[in-house]
């Protein structure tokens, strides 16, 4: 019996201690008419060897394409030691650290995680993680409305330069709290928030969301935006890429006061792409908002002997104590991912993260330079970018993506599906990180040129 260590003698002894004749009898409180007759549609068990072979084949069936897609999920080099350590049984197979004394490993790691996230974002405090970047933004919106009662508004200004999928997730999460999400258009020339239109806003609002870099890869004028929102009595939620923060100003220092809440997706910090999850949302805030923060928080304290140690704290915010009055219903979060992220930042250090970020910028610029000379490709936005940029194609973007897939390239994201009504037709969002070599980029540019030429009948040449 796989995974069942009982011998038949032990089973007999146990049943006799319990005083029943069979295991079946232990289910005698279940009304017989409800009892089901098995699990016929589930396949029969396979040995580890068979499953390994099956899954290895499945994992290889789609090849290992060169990836130029980003849009919220980024391929970075992941040092081998990270997952070797994170998947050590003691981290991998432990529960949420409810018994602090028996969980100092996890607890110290999370304390270090909180410190690192606070450092990266320039904020005072961080929680122990949320599900992912999108849901973290949802929680930030809820939190800003809770925390900013004096705004007397449940309106959130959500720029169109925030990822469309993120906006959809937020909408799902906040739907039943009477919150409205008002989309602010982007500047057609720059691919950033249209500040003029923004300033025309006259109704009060609870918070403004500012992405940096934004979904198009462009950099928002975060200082101006932050100060403007604060002047309106609103809070500011910074939505940031953690790798970019190695080079770009931390949200804690945007404008004169810094943002109130910083959130984002920490996947770029050591988490594999793996089809979109598990990733890890992070959230940091100003000290004064700490009691509004959702999720787990670890604090440093001392033990009976005065020796420093760590434990979960401020649990009175949480559902298991506060129940219907909790700041959120979140319970299980992304602990193991927080461990991996902490390891990533510890291994890379300040210098390493800066180098990764700089390498992204340099490689992205290199591909832009290659594509600039490609016939038919246009760059709709003039603003400088971090590691993503938009191009428009002289032909159907879906067809291009499919043709590139034939050459084992993930060409990028068709963002016209989200922005066609904004005039962005046949637009492709392309990402380049430190993992792409000069040869990769040349191959990308050559293949793209060839694909376009094939699809347009070479006419534009």
């Amino acid at each position: 019996m796989p995974y069942i260590p009982h011998t038949s003698q032990e089973i007999a002894e146990m049943l006799s201690v319990i005083g029943v004749d069979s295991i079946e009898q232990l289910f005698d409180e279940i009304p017989p008419e409800l009892r089901s007759d098995g699990l016929d549609n589930i396949p029969s068990r396979q040995s580890e060897m068979q499953v390994q072979r099956l899954l290895t084949e499945k994992s290889m069936q789609d090849g290992t394409p060169l990836c130029f897609a980003g849009g919220g999920a980024y391929e970075h080099h992941i040092p081998a030691a990270i997952w070797e350590i994170a998947t050590r049984g003691e981290f991998y197979s432990a529960y949420t650290p409810y018994q602090a004394e028996a969980s100092q490993g996890t607890l110290q790691v999370i304390y270090e995680f909180q410190t690192m996230i606070a450092s990266l974002t320039g904020m005072d405090v961080s929680n122990a993680s949320l599900y992912d970047g999108a849901s973290a933004l949802g929680e930030a919106v809820l939190m800003s409305v809770r925390a900013n009662r004096k705004a007397k508004s449940k309106r959130i200004i959500m720029p169109a330069t925030v990822s469309s999928v993120y906006r959809q997730v937020v909408a799902t999460i906040v739907k039943h709290q009477g919150i409205t999400l008002d989309i602010i258009d982007f500047d057609r020339a720059n691919g950033t928030i249209d500040i003029d239109k923004l300033k025309q806003q006259s109704e009060p609002f609870a918070a403004l969301v500012i992405p940096q870099p934004n979904y198009f890869g462009c950099m928002e004028d975060v200082h101006t935006l932050t100060d403007w929102a604060h002047e309106q009595g609103a809070m500011v939620i910074g939505l940031v890429n953690p790798v970019a923060l190695a080079l770009l100003e931390a949200p804690g220092n945007w404008g004169t006061q810094g943002v109130d809440i910083a959130v984002g997706e920490a996947q770029p910090l050591g988490i594999p792409l793996s089809s979109g999850g598990p990733y890890i949302g992070f959230m940091a805030c100003k000290q004064k908002l700490v009691r509004q923060l959702p999720g787990r928080i670890v604090g440093r304290t001392v033990d009976l002997d005065g020796k420093p140690g760590f434990s979960l704290t401020l649990q009175a915010r949480e559902q298991h104590i506060r129940r219907s009055k909790a700041t959120s219903n979140i319970c299980t979060n992304q602990g193991l991912m927080a461990t991996a992220t902490t390891l990533y930042l510890a291994f890379m250090g300040r210098d390493g993260l800066q180098k990764v970020a700089a390498s992204c910028v340099q490689n992205t610029q290199a591909l832009i330079d290659l594509l600039k000379i490609s016939p038919g490709i246009c760059f709709p936005f003039g603003t400088s970018v971090f590691h993503e940029f938009v191009i428009t194609l002289p032909t159907d973007v879906e067809q291009v993506i499919e043709a590139m897939a034939e050459e084992d390239i993930v060409a990028g994201i068709n963002i016209s599906q989200y922005y066609a009504q904004d005039g962005l037709e046949n637009a492709l969002l392309i990402c380049v990180t430190e993992t792409r070599s000069p040869e990769d980029m040349a191959f990308f540019a050559d293949t793209l040129n060839k694909v376009i030429s094939d699809l347009t009948g070479g006419a534009r040449k």
Binding site: T64, S93, G277
Partner: protein
């Protein structure tokens, strides 16, 4: 005591080992950072210090390897944490989920480049439908609580769709997990707390009084968090359905009934599953989990996206276009896909035979432990009931007689090499231990656990102060939680470095 370990190397924080002038990593690309930043807009560049530690690679390895050893875990200890299903996590699940072809796949890669992973998810959807008796499954919720949110949001979408907007209340038993009431509120409902009777069942009379046209639904788990099977479940379902409400099933306890009874057959309209419990994906010190939802036909149109569908031998993503009434997205992509993959692998390894055995042996272990504890003189909270996969001890007698409460017993257990059971939940049983051994623990280890509790009981009787100061043998003694909450220290650089 000079005889004891006087480690000269302090238990440092990684930040204390850092020196900003250190450059020792082989892990970053070689590049002149300053030259690159010149190309970026000056006023947006980082001016504030970046306080990340600079530590040697070996020192980082050593730091975190040593830290890991300070954890109890399934791989090292018996961990009978009730309601949490701490069972064996077969390593192969992780190994295969990390294969480059899975780990390296971008979520926006064209579906023609994603058939492998999509086939796994599709098959998992089907297996979960069979295991729960539900009509359709969506895998996207990222943990139990998000599954609950999804489920209640679908209940609401259903009523809204029917223009049935007088329904403002969700009924939740007092024994329920905290996520249940918190979720109901996130979905804009008022929570009505339903009492439990002394048999551990729902108080049907109280329920009768509570329900009506204002009732949107009820959230139950069965077996409940009290470790007993709600026998009147059919009657409850009928009562709720009669008044137009829907039934939500909190699937955290599915391990108890896998292959024995299906929530769909009990009359539930929507259910979430905790794959990190029943399907053994790792708890990881607090996640990630996965909380797929299953629905009856009624709620099918409201399922969250994406889901995987199959047409002409090709897998594709079902999105809002095909499901216009969907409650929408809960994550940027397919939730915790890598965790779903692990659950799929586990399900293949168990097969239908293995899944049946899960409930059988989880139940056997729980009932055996229950009886052993009863024999050892401990008070069982619901002594006339069968245990499901878990059961409750109440240590109120010990607390009264010796002044040693459940927390003291819990801390002392750590010294004996056992993780403590869940304490002080469910709230309605005083000084409680919610004990869930799971099916993967051996009888000898259960026996050792009983033995340890017997020894501690003797200590409580003879020298209660020993318990009150426990633990003694762990990396730290008992921690001051009050200080932790009063003098918040949540960020090293904020609290120590300046």
């Amino acid at each position: 005591m000079t005889q004891l370990n006087e480690t000269v190397i302090e238990n440092r924080l990684i930040f204390e080992a850092s020196d900003f002038t250190r450059k020792s990593s082989s892990l970053a690309p070689d590049i002149d950072v300053d030259m690159v930043t010149k190309s970026l807009p000056e006023h947006l560049l980082r001016k504030s210090e970046l306080l990340l530690p600079q530590v040697g690679e070996l020192q980082v390895v050593r730091h975190y390897t040593c830290l890991s050893q300070k954890n109890f875990s399934i791989d090292t200890h018996f961990y009978p944490l009730g309601s949490c299903t701490m069972k064996y996590n077969p390593r192969i699940c992780n190994t295969l989920a990390q294969l480059p072809g899975f780990a390296g796949r971008h979520p926006m890669a064209h579906s023609s480049m994603s058939q492998g992973i999509m086939s796994c998810l599709y098959e998992l959807q089907n297996m979960l439908m069979e295991a729960t008796g539900m009509k359709q499954v969506s895998l996207t919720p990222m943990a139990g609580a998000q599954g609950e949110f999804t489920g209640v949001a679908m209940i609401r979408a259903y009523h809204d769709h029917n223009k049935d907007d007088a329904r403002t209340e969700i009924i939740v038993p007092d024994a329920a997990h905290g996520t249940n009431p918190a979720t109901a509120v996130m979905c804009g409902y008022k929570v009505k707390e339903l009492p439990t009777n002394d048999q551990g069942d729902v108080d049907i009379d109280a329920l009768k009084v509570m329900i009506g046209p204002q009732t949107a639904g009820i959230m139950l788990t069965n077996p409940s968090t009290l470790g007993v099977f709600e026998r009147k479940i059919k009657q409850i379902a009928d009562m709720i359905h009669e008044v137009g409400g829907l039934l939500y099933y909190d699937g955290a306890n599915l391990n108890a009934i896998l292959g024995k009874v299906k929530p769909g057959d009990m009359g539930f309209d929507v259910i979430h599953m905790n794959l990190h419990k029943t399907f053994s994906t790792p708890h990881g010190g607090g996640g990630p989990g996965a909380g797929p939802v299953g629905v009856s036909e009624r709620l099918q149109p409201f399922l969250p996206v994406p889901m995987v569908a199959l047409k002409d031998g090709q897998y594709y993503w079902l999105s809002e276009d095909e499901l216009p009434l969907s409650i929408g997205h809960l994550s940027a992509w397919m939730g915790n896909a890598g965790i779903l993959l692990r659950a799929y692998i586990y399900a293949l390894l168990l097969g239908r035979e293995g899944m049946q055995r899960v409930a059988e042996f989880a139940t056997l272990n729980a009932n055996y432990l229950l009886q052993r504890f009863a024999d050892a003189g401990f008070e069982i909270a619901f002594p006339e009931r069968r245990a499901s996969h878990e059961f409750i001890l109440t240590l109120r007698k010990e607390a009264k007689q010796y002044g040693t409460n459940a927390m003291d017993f819990a801390k002392r257990l750590l010294d004996y090499g056992f993780h403590a059971p869940t304490t002080y939940f469910p709230l309605l049983v005083p000084e409680c231990f919610l004990i869930e051994p799971t099916e993967t623990e051996a009888k000898t280890d259960l026996d050792s656990f009983v033995k340890a509790m017997e020894l501690i009981l003797e200590e409580a009787r003879e020298s209660p102060e020993v318990l009150k100061q426990a633990p003694y043998s762990l990396p730290v003694r008992r921690l001051d939680d009050v200080k932790a909450a009063r003098e918040l220290d949540l960020n090293y650089y904020q609290s120590h470095a300046e």
